[in-house]
Amino acid sequence: MSETCKNGNAPCKPERKERLLGLIDLDARFELTQFRLIRALLKSRWMPLLLLFFNTFMFVIILVAALLGGYSAGNYNFGIMLVWILWWVLLMFVLVPVFARAWCLMCPFPIFSDWFQRKRLIDVGQEKPWGLNRRWPKWLKNMWLMNVLFLVTTYFSGFLTVRPFASFVLLGSVILAAFIVGLVYEKRSFCLYLCPVSGFQGLYSQFAAAEIRHKDDEICKAHKKKTCFIGNEKGHGCPWLLMPFKFEKNTYCGMCLECFKTCPYDNMAFNLRPFGADLLVDSKLEPKGLDEAWKAFIMLGIAVVFYLGFQGPWGFMKDMIRGTTLSGFFSYIVIHTVFCFAFIPAVFFLFCWLSKLISGDREVPLKQVFTGFAYTLIPLGLGVWVAFSFGIILPNGSYLLHIASDPFSWGWNLLGTANFPWTPVLTQYLPHLQGIAMLVFYVFSIDYGMKLSRRIYPNPAHAHRGFLPILAVLTALTFLFLWLYMGSALSEK
């Protein structure tokens, strides 16, 4: 098979059609918007507004419940259970892997800044937006701030996931920050570059089985007004500051559906596609970057630390995470940061260096090898979090029945389930579900690893050899997580 590589060191794209796991054509798309009902739904101004209103209503209940819950145990608090059990698990099981950033479509965080900027909530005006409407600094147009903010948020996970008041403070701060940033910076700058939840959704949505893309290049080229970007009477210009007629991957598309409304030619499509199609995208407009690579490392690191702290049997770890002593808490922060920010990237770098060495390719820059192969960690990382989420929902899911009946702990019994006892569900299968999740996503990782290798090393022989250390590190990482989820039994002395 011959390769094309027009830009010197730029990654190459094989000429032959690529298939996911050798089976599914990666260019295959199933357009859901071909169905009139779905297209009409996505073009309606009530979509996603109705979802947004519903979630804002739920969010108010969550905030009130979290405030009222104060310092009580979180497992009987509506705010804690809805956010950290139901929302998180839905995010990891369905929303991100299947529907990309569908959560952003219905997220209530930016509703007040949108309202303020647009001066209206439902219809579309053509006047100048309120607020300073400044541009986000160019040097911060990446994931680095989100990486740091998400990691910092996880320092407090020992409080956030168990103390209702801590969750109230976090969620209240985020919605306030979204509003303040919206006063100063244009459109959804907060969502794009600051929201702690946005980064990992953007990263993992590259693996998702859904996408929003334009259909016909020629129609977009002929349409000089670019209403998807500037807006018109039917909808707002892309709130995510993207050019919908050009974008190639899900990372920064918040799926707000405005481009469906503003395109006069119905040239936007909501597609189903093979998992992970974006992992191979590396263009001038949307290049692979170290910020996204680090996001992948951080997410893996957090998964290890969270497992040890929350799903492991080690009391001293729990004491550190919940801040029993100040020194223990600071030690946890330091270890957590070094592990996620430095140790995991360093280990991965070592394998990438080996990859370059073994490949025999002297031309390809090591940075390109490192950045390119980091994307193999996206499926694996998602698998790790799916497996972790099984460990959250199966033992704790039954609390949801209680809190749904008595959201404010006022003794209500709205659904007749307020006294439903704690019941672990299918926990006998927990290790198997976690094992299966790890293996399935490992297979995706190695499949994309091979494809990425062919892009990184133009010569097929180099690509084959260069892939071997990456195969080794992916296998070792999967083994590590299998061991954690199913095998580890280290006593605490």
Binding site: Q311, G435, M438, M450, L471
Partner: protein, 150 residues
């Protein structure tokens, strides 16, 4: 050569899983002290077929102990121990977790019961290694084919 090595490795792993079954019937007694939010000992190990007796003592508030996979539950109140007896007839590593809300970190109060041999773990690792070896085989095959084409 490579292929036979990995086939051998896979077979050896599966064999280990099958042969590691110990003589059944040993008696084990564990006194587990529960306090916010840990068990001591936090890990207990037995072999398949062993008879296990557990005495659960609470050192502060009321705690419980629910063993995943066995579906067994016991409660210990301060000054009133709980006890549990069962035959470890399922292998693997099982989580035991507090079943009575004992404070804010209650959902994370966890211990491990390991019933050797941990066949589920060995099984999944064997699949992992087989998938890795299979990939290696595919890479080697493609490499050879492309070298031949050149």
């Amino acid at each position: 050569m490579k292929r036979s090595f990995f086939c051998g490795l896979f077979a050896a792993t599966v064999l280990c899983a099958a042969q590691a079954a110990p003589a059944p019937g040993e008696e084990h007694f564990f006194e587990i002290r529960a306090k916010k939010f840990e068990y001591a000992p936090n890990v207990i190990r037995v072999n398949r077929g062993d008879h296990v007796r557990i005495r659960l003592l609470s050192q502060d508030v009321t705690h419980g102990m629910y063993i995943d996979g066995y579906g067994l539950n016991v409660t210990a109140y301060p000054g009133e121990d709980g006890s549990l007896a069962f035959t470890a007839d399922r292998t693997g590593r099982f989580i035991f977790r507090c079943s009575v809300t004992c404070g804010e970190f209650h959902p994370y109060m966890i211990g491990h019961l390991k019933v050797e041999p941990n066949t589920p773990f060995i099984f999944y690792v064997a699949i992992l290694l087989a998938a890795g070896a299979g990939t290696l085989g595919i890479v080697a095959l493609r490499s050879r084919r492309e070298t031949a084409n050149e």
